[in-house]
Symmetry: C2
Subunit: 461 residues, 2 copies
């Protein structure tokens, strides 16, 4: 039953928890009736659960915005609940009532980086291996009348989503489950690209161009070699994006090190020397996942400091030191780490739009009753770039990795090819600046009002 309170003064009016403004010509009574009817329909509808999973990105909240705005508009979805800290929130019955957030906050998610609801690195085991976790999920979902499950993540997360989608068949709890793609690594198969990648690609391309100008201007008397370490442990998409900083092999970055290309120290050092001798300086973009032919990561090469601690640095300091030992060049190095994947201030407009679109599409698919799928980006045309949304079964993306294909890597292994450039360029197109206040991006924070718990027993993770 819905409790109707007296309308508040001054044109704003209230029914239960819902406060609103009258439309032109609408009486308070008509507005209240409208809210009550909607609420009754909503109460009979099943609720939606949304969770963020795995490493976050500059635009995962834009996908959240797409999911939430679309779900809140639907009459067939009741409440929207979010897992606090991803699937962990579902298991521990730690749910956020998204309806308690203001519309401005929800809209602000579109330009706010990282995971506003909290994300988690937590992989569900197989249903047979850990039945207790799935039974717990069902218990929580049943208690909160959850019929839609939207899971925003990468390869591992799509595996979890797939397992949840099978709850109906295996444990008798029907739920419509749609994955929402997200990964800065761009390594999900079937989709043309992954939301999150375009923005990190833009950040790395811009940063490489800027740092290269710095090195170029000082090389005569100072630093000659600069190494920028970027993310992407198994797939070199982010490293490849560094290649957009220059237009020809003569321009920085002069060397890109991909995880897809086995690292050969002598060839690398020779190329560095040749580059410095020709251009006066050398800019290197190195994936954190650069590895020797035997698969051993450079960063895990077993070097230890005087106290026997494992080598502290990453790939960048290791490569820089290698160059200094061999050639004596003065060097600098940078490790962008979280700065790159949180850099919403330089987000790609295309990426933001695609992130929102896959969120919206996920809800639309679920409302059509399509289960166990993930929306994908389909490239329709190259120039001008056009894209649309399709979808694939979760089973076809779960745990699969799309690496940079050989035809995207220059024959010498140190750069990108023209087809790679054509693929990447549209993904960093356009700027989508956040609003600023006092010189800083005015990112939103959710109130994060908890849904009252309905279950008595605690669940130990």
């Amino acid at each position: 039953m819905v409790v109707v309170t007296a309308a508040a003064a001054g044109g704003s009016t209230k029914v239960g928890n819902v406060t609103g403004r009258l439309r032109r010509g609408q009486t308070k009574r008509a507005w209240r009736r409208c809210v009550i009817l909607r609420s009754m329909r909503k109460e009979s509808a099943r609720n939606a659960f949304y969770a963020q999973s795995g490493g976050v990105s500059a635009v995962i909240n834009a996908s959240a915005c797409g999911v939430i705005e679309t779900a809140l508009r639907s009459r067939r979805i009741g409440k929207v609940l979010a897992g606090r800290d991803g699937i962990v929130g579902a298991l521990t019955e730690d749910l956020i009532d998204v309806g308690r957030e203001s519309r401005a906050t929800i809209r602000g998610l579109k330009y706010t980086p990282a995971g506003a609801f909290g994300s988690a690195r937590f992989k569900l085991k197989g249903i047979d291996e850990n039945r207790a976790e799935y039974e717990r999920l069902i218990e929580v979902f049943r208690a909160h009348n959850i019929g839609y499950f939207f899971y925003n993540g990468g390869n591992d997360s799509m595996d979890t989503a797939l397992k949840v989608s099978q709850l109906g068949a295996s444990l008798g709890f029907p739920i419509t489950c749609v994955g929402v793609p997200k990964t800065v690594d761009n390594d999900l198969p079937h989709t043309d690209c992954c939301p999150g990648f375009g923005s990190v690609a833009k950040y790395i391309a811009v940063s490489t161009r800027e740092a290269a100008l710095d090195v170029a201007s000082m090389a005569r008397t100072s630093t000659r070699v600069f190494v920028l370490e970027v993310m992407g442990r198994h797939a070199g998409w982010i490293a490849a994006a560094g290649g957009l900083a220059g237009k020809s092999p003569a321009e920085a970055p002069h060397i890109i090190l991909f995880p897809e290309v086995p690292f050969e120290q002598q060839r690398f050092l020779e190329r560095v020397r040749a580059t410095v001798e020709t251009h006066g300086y050398c800019v290197i973009v190195a994936s954190e996942g650069v590895a020797y032919a035997d698969g051993k990561f450079l960063a895990d090469a077993g070097t230890r400091d005087a106290f026997g601690h494992t080598q502290l640095g990453g790939v960048a300091p290791m490569l820089a030191n290698m160059v200094r030992e061999a050639h004596g060049y003065k060097y600098h190095w940078a490790v962008a780490d979280y700065l790159q994947r949180a850099a919403r201030h330089i987000g790609s407009k295309v990426d933001v739009e695609q992130a929102y679109a896959v969120g919206r599409a996920a809800v639309e698919l679920a409302l059509k009753g399509v289960n166990a799928v993930m929306p994908i980006i389909v490239r329709r045309a190259q120039r001008p770039y056009r894209w649309s949304i399709g979808h694939v079964p979760l089973a076809e993306v779960a745990n699969k990795e799309k690496k940079v294909p050989r035809e995207y890597i220059r024959e010498d292994g140190f750069g990108i090819t023209a087809p790679c450039r054509r693929y990447l360029e549209p993904l960093i197109a356009g700027e989508a600046y956040p609003p600023y206040r006092d010189g800083l991006p005015d990112y939103v924070r959710i109130k994060g009002v908890s849904v009252r718990r309905k279950l008595k027993d605690e669940f130990k993770l």
Copy 2:
């Protein structure tokens, strides 16, 4: 003598090397006469020399733009010549004819980071110690009729500028010498702030806020401690700017490590643990110059790897490892290095305007015959922030360093105070986005046409 060529078709016309458009109602003949007269006046005027010095910044070219546009407009300055790679260009008679650059390129310097003319880390010794260098400078200046010397740099560079300003008195070559302040470190005395600092401060504040959101969203199951290493070896201004990312001690960054505050390992580790226990995670901004009480840098603490190489990493990996050893928290770290000082894409509007203004003021001072000074930024009002340009004698800034005063550092040594925040906030105000093409900032490059050499002998540096 000026060679007059036939006017080109289509409204654009040409005299010698000068191409221009007719003003409304102006005949081609009148325009040509105007150019010839101007050129004759220019030929009798002495030329200006401009050079960039030391580590570059996101806005040093904006100062170049201020110098060049003002000098080119002046009737009392002949040509504008720039040193290729700073003072090295003067010594080796490697001069760039700035007049050969298009106006669009000159204008574009205002939004292009790093040193477009090349900078150098090259400090002139005292006149008595190395008379040959000064005699060479005079030889080059005399050969190219240089009467104005504009030197764009930091503390060390102002020392060089001071020495050059004394050439008249000590070696009988009169030259008007004005320094143009530039340093991301913000450590020049007398000026309220240094052009270059506002933009790096904005970059660090923005990046800290963004990375902190990332860490916060994953802390429950993943990274709990994040360390961002920033520049500023002797002065902690850049580290202090990280403090703008949050509004209260409860918000990230939770710990700032200044070079001005001796590092105490136990206190630091205790604060990290207390922060993680209270907030779930801990964000640390550390100056590269963090040092123990005995003055020894943490980064130079003598740790060596298995091969006896000096510790490769910087302060960030060292601190992160220290935390892991003590508390076992999962950590991440980033070293922004050149990315921070080249990040024109997130340049501060106030900083860009001040950089341009000190460049323009330098020329105006020189034209008034004021020698051996440096324009400074004077803070006129706090809120709304107002500033103007003053100047001080070079002797008062050369080789002096302005550190972060104790009243700007919180009593516990781990954060900034309200007065520090009030000082910093206006300096990062406003965005000054560069134009973009194909998703990347469309930075300009100079043609860099060399001035024909007039001297026969080479000069060995």
